[in-house]
Amino acid sequence: MDVPVLKQGPFLIATIQAALNDADLNKLRRSLVEQVGRHRSRGVIVDVTSLDVLDSFAARTLRDIAHMTGFRGAETVIVGIHPDLAFAMVQLGLTLEGVATALDLEEGLAYLNERTRRLGATRPLPSTRAVAGRPIMAPAPRPGWPLAIARPPLVIPREEPRERRRAKPAPEGADPETRRDLP
């Protein structure tokens, strides 16, 4: 049985629907590690709310997923471990050491948002994108061109912040704080 994986902005959400066997869990692990690269995801949520049993194999696979996606630059958080499963896991002696967990999907998203905020919403695409104020990579010099005449990097002028632009023509003595609220 395949686990549906939903792409939600910079995150992947895998919702385990029912009883998964070991082969399904291995498939999920491979799929998530691969999809983190394909979608350039920053984080992965594995929702186990509907899982009937979290035994040693499932716990190990969840740990593998967290560590493997970690090697690929994405953080994984496991959400929705049912209280009964938590109790059984402790009795069995299972741990999810080194793996982030959260109460539910909402908490998991909040956790990932917090963890990835510094990095920006998404990773830059592999193709060159124009970013204001940052030079675009100059094209490689054609064969025969001396390096010295290679074009300098093109720089898109950075837009000035709105407040500052509006504040400029303000007559002397005007309070910029009150002007800022004008439409």
């Binding site: 009883a19 998964l20 066997n21 070991d22 082969a23 009937d52 049993v53 979290l54 035994d55 040693s56 194999f57 716990a59 190990r60 049912h82 209280p83 009964d84 499963l85 109790f87 059984a88 896991m89 009795q91 069995l92 002696g93 299972l94």
Partner: protein, 125 residues
Amino acid sequence: MRSDADVVIARQRGREIASLLGFSASDLALIATAISELARNIVLYAGSGEIEIGHVEQMERRGIEIVARDQGPGIRNIPQAMRDGFSTSGGLGLGLPGVKRLMDEFEIQSRPGRGTTVTVRRWTR
């Protein structure tokens, strides 16, 4: 028990039977987890075997009994297999002692080259 798909079937059947016997939701998770571990041991170490699930009555108390039986290589050193952290498969190494903690009663019989039988019981509270 032949494959990991059978592990899922065994624990689902176990949960159904335990539910009929009146176990609480929390107990159902414990019982299903124990069956999952025992069934996986069979598939992993013996290749095939069987799981028998039934109800037991003893002095006005009712419970579930799970017998996991295989004709696999057997366990040479049972005390060692019952120690936390011991495993021969490179797994997590807490199968049998973990199962013992999940259940009320635990018995193991094994003869090298002949197979292993694990019997566990849990009583309704």
